[in-house]
């Protein structure tokens, strides 16, 4: 049964080239939402933009106008660049001493600065309309700490949670909700390719729900937050991890 309040709305989905972002685009379209999809990686009909660059975000806004929903999926444990737009994911976690300041800055920019720039660009437009839904992407790495990626990614995603809570307070009076989703182990094609952190079947079997997540599992929660069901949810971080970690 379709969710209330989605049909006819307009959404911006970042990081839409593959995996979770791509699943969200599909889900929205199936609900009758008009979707503007963007990624630094060119594929299909999506808008190519480097969201760590304020000029690119401004140009994106000129094409998108005022969305009802802004879904910030862009990011990841390895920062893409304009020359390497879909980098392979690491096969194991990086130690603190293995992360140099360039990697640190790039991962913070890809995950946190991008969300900040997109929100800064689009929130004023939503405020003028007194309506909007913002969904940012955190990670279990920020909730329990990261043993699969590294401190740069966990810190960036922790920043996303704080950004989201602050936006909820700041934008609440304008009828705009801001929430974060903290996915656990989601088997996207890129993660499967990297056999991320040498995840074992034993680990998967130890999860309360006994399976890895699917991108569609995350898309469902995004749809929920943008629907009537999410109308009074704001400032929340929703853990979607099959019971791996319960949060604060």
């Amino acid at each position: 049964m379709p969710l209330e309040d989605l049909k006819g709305k307009k959404a911006l989905v970042t990081g839409a080239a593959s995996g979770i972002g791509s699943a969200i685009v599909k889900r929205f379209r199936s609900e009758g939402v008009q979707v503007f999809a963007t990624d630094i990686h060119q594929t299909g009909d999506l808008i190519v933009a480097d969201l760590t660059d304020a000029d690119h975000v401004e140009k994106l806004a000129a094409q998108v106008g005022t969305p009802d929903f802004v879904i910030n999926v862009a990011g990841g444990p390895v920062a893409p660049s304009r020359s390497e737009t879909l980098p392979a994911l690491p096969k194991s976690s990086l130690l603190l001493e293995d992360i140099d300041e360039l990697q640190w800055a790039a991962v913070i920019a890809a995950n946190l600065t991008s969300a900040y720039l997109v929100c800064r660009q689009f929130a004023p437009r939503m405020k003028a309309r007194k309506y909007g839904r913002i969904v940012n992407f955190a990670s279990i790495a920020a909730r329990r700490g990261s043993d699969r990626v590294g401190v740069h990614y966990a810190a960036a995603k922790g920043g996303v949670i704080a950004l989201t809570k602050t936006l909820a307070l700041e934008l609440g009076p304008f009828g705009i909700t801001a929430n974060a989703i903290a996915p656990g182990f989601i088997r996207t094609p890129r993660i499967a390719e990297a056999n991320w952190g040498n995840v074992t079947q034993d680990f998967i079997d130890s999860l309360p729900l006994r399976r890895a997540g699917r991108p569609e599992d995350i898309a469902g929660v995004v749809a929920m937050l943008c629907s009537e069901a999410g109308g009074y949810v704001s400032g929340a971080t929703i853990d979607v991890n099959g019971g791996l970690y319960f949060g604060p």
């Binding site: 969710l3 609440g172 009076p173 006994r210 469902g220 009074y232 853990d239 319960f246």
Partner: protein, 255 residues
């Protein structure tokens, strides 16, 4: 036919009432457990059973008569003493905290809010495990932040019982996950239910958690929004969520 059991659904303008109607609209058979018989006529099509869910034996007896349960939504509860003898009771004057409540008050409030959830989950678990399903419990923002001394219209025992509901949710998520049963919880802030009207009438312009202007979204939540969230937590949209408490409070408390 897929079957949902919803407790605390008989009072019109309650969250449970709206949840029962929505699950029915989604094509489920709905069983309502409640003591408030006068409300049963507003739930045509639901199987309404008079039951005190804070009584272990009553709950066991009811569930032993059910053939199938796919969804259990535990809405029964209340922040002040509501007993079998006075189902329409309103809040009382004065702050009711842990340091001044009577043992009887503690037992009544804990029984309605926490024991009832344990009893219903316990009785429903064997039925849910057969084919998988979902449990959704209702906690409260009171579990997150407590009730400040001086506040009227809610209570300390309620805050503690609702925190217990969150812990129960996590524990059951671990115990039932392997059977395809997801267990989640919502923690509402101030919701415009029939009960809130009682509190507002009682306390003037202030909600049970303080002035409404302290809510960043500048409004109370609706019963429809709350019920929609609960129904979403029963659905495949949340198929990878378990053990989670979703706060809905207009940004007034971020866990």
């Amino acid at each position: 036919m897929k079957t949902a059991v919803v407790t605390g659904a008989a009072k019109p303008e309650s969250i449970g009432h709206e949840v029962a109607l929505r699950l029915q609209r989604d094509g489920m058979g709905v069983v309502v457990l409640d003591l408030y018989e006068e409300g049963f006529s507003s739930l045509s099509g639901c199987q309404c059973i008079k039951c005190d869910v804070s009584d272990f034996d009553s709950v066991q007896r009811i569930f032993s008569g059910l053939e199938r349960v796919d969804v259990l939504v535990n809405c029964v509860g209340g922040s002040w003493e509501i007993t079998k003898d006075d189902l329409r009771a309103g809040p009382r004057r004065g702050f009711l905290g842990l340091t001044n409540c009577s043992l009887e008050q503690w037992n009544t409030i804990r029984g309605a809010n926490l024991d009832s959830v344990f009893y219903c989950c316990r009785a429903a678990a064997p039925l849910l495990k057969k084919q998988g399903g979902a449990i959704v419990n209702v906690a409260s923002i009171a579990a997150r932040k407590g009730i400040p001394p001086g506040a009227e219209g809610s209570s300390g025992p309620y805050a503690v019982a609702k925190a217990g509901v969150m812990g129960l949710t996590r524990q059951l998520a671990l115990e039932l996950g392997g059977f395809g049963v997801r267990v989640n919880c919502v923690a509402p802030g101030v919701i415009a239910s029939g009960r809130l009207k009682k509190v507002l009438k009682f306390s003037g312009e202030q909600g049970p958690e303080g002035p409404l202007k302290q809510i960043p979204m500048g409004r109370v939540g609706t019963v429809a929004e709350t019920a929609a969230l609960i129904v979403a937590l029963c659905s495949d949209d949340t198929s990878y969520m378990t053990g989670v408490t979703v706060d809905l409070n207009g940004a007034s408390y971020a866990a």
